[in-house]
């Protein structure tokens, strides 16, 4: 809590942009005010006068002859419609800015993530099968893996069937059943990966976007608030 001298000094600084005579008069008035209230009431006077900033605003409005506009004096002291309006506008603006920022973050994250499957597709087209398991295809990979499992399963089963039945020159009943078995295992794996990818895209990703956006947002807001306070 500042004392009287600090308070008046701060007020003087805040009034530095007004006419010197007006400033000296206001400062003289409040110095007088403090002196007449007595040192024992100093704390109380500072509390009731409000911050040097609000006091300086009241003084400046008085100078602009705007003080009387829209003022109301009720139980809670004086209220200016103007201040309230200004306050509300500021609040609304801040809220809107926050919303915009959040939307922007979600958009950027979506863009980054959309780039990943794009690069995965490029890699797939270059024919490198190992890429499917690489980190780059991580997001899109689940679908590709699912798809590949089903293709491999179909190929394996049909090859197994062809081994059992005498369509081809080589007949191997045991080998046929092994291939058919592998095919069924691949179908099962494909099904599992299908479920994983469905969960991944429907539940996990949207949650993650929101989480990342909120985190980035709160970090940024904290910094903004910090800057505002400084």
């Amino acid at each position: 809590m500042m004392n009287k001298d600090e308070y008046l000094k701060e007020l003087e600084k805040l009034l530095s942009d007004i006419d010197e005579q007006d400033r000296n008069e206001a400062l003289e008035y409040y110095r007088n005010y403090f002196e007449d209230a007595g040192i024992e009431n100093e704390k109380e006077v500072i509390e009731t006068l409000g911050t040097p900033y609000t006091l300086s605003q009241t003084i400046k409005d008085g100078l602009k002859e705007q003080f009387d506009e829209n003022i109301e004096i009720g139980d809670e002291g004086i209220k200016s419609q103007k201040y309230e309006d200004k306050n509300e506008v500021l609040k609304a603006k801040k809220k809107k800015e926050r919303m915009d920022k959040r939307d922007k973050f979600i958009f950027i994250i979506l863009l980054i993530i959309l780039c990943v499957p794009l690069s995965a597709i490029l890699h797939t087209f270059s024919g490198v099968i190992g890429v499917i398991f690489s980190i780059l295809t991580f997001f899109f990979g689940f679908w590709i893996i699912t798809f590949l499992f089903y293709i491999c399963a179909a190929m394996s089963i049909s090859y197994g069937v062809s081994l059992i039945f005498p369509f081809s020159t080589i007949i191997s009943v045991g080998g046929g059943f092994i291939y058919i078995g592998i095919g069924f295992i691949l179908i099962a794996l494909g099904y599992v990966f299908g479920k994983i990818s469905k969960w991944f895209f429907k539940e996990f990703l949207p949650k993650m976007f929101r989480w990342i956006a909120d985190k980035m947002n709160s970090l940024l807001n904290r910094r903004l608030e910090h800057e505002n306070n400084v």
Binding site: Y33, E35, D36
Partner: protein, 108 residues
């Protein structure tokens, strides 16, 4: 009080408070006395006093008090005239409201 006080009534109250002292009175005392009648924040009175000075409803003079300077506010003749107008308006206004509240039929 549930009713709000407008700027004109605040002027009237301040003029009335200042007019009660022949010698004039000073900022802190005016604030205390106004506050005993209506709730008004302490920072409000300076702009009001300043405007009343500018409108020549009040005048100031400085006097030494306990080794320091103290500014006194005193009502002027035009301030007294203004106060009379305010009082007239106020009586008229409250009379009408009172009449309404007390249920006297208006036969205009």
């Amino acid at each position: 009080m549930v009713f709000n006080t407008g700027a004109a009534l605040l002027d009237a109250v301040v003029l009335s408070v200042v007019s009660r002292d022949e010698k004039g009175t000073y900022g802190y005392k005016i604030t205390q006395e106004v506050q005993s009648v209506i709730s008004v924040s302490e920072s409000t009175l300076y702009p009001v006093l300043r405007r009343l000075l500018k409108d020549q409803c009040l005048e100031t003079y400085d006097e030494q008090f306990q080794g320091r300077n103290r500014r006194y506010y005193k009502i002027t003749n035009s301030g007294l005239a203004q106060l009379a107008i305010y009082k007239q308006e106020w009586y008229e206004y409250t009379r009408k409201i009172n009449t309404l509240f007390e249920g006297v039929v208006n036969d205009e």
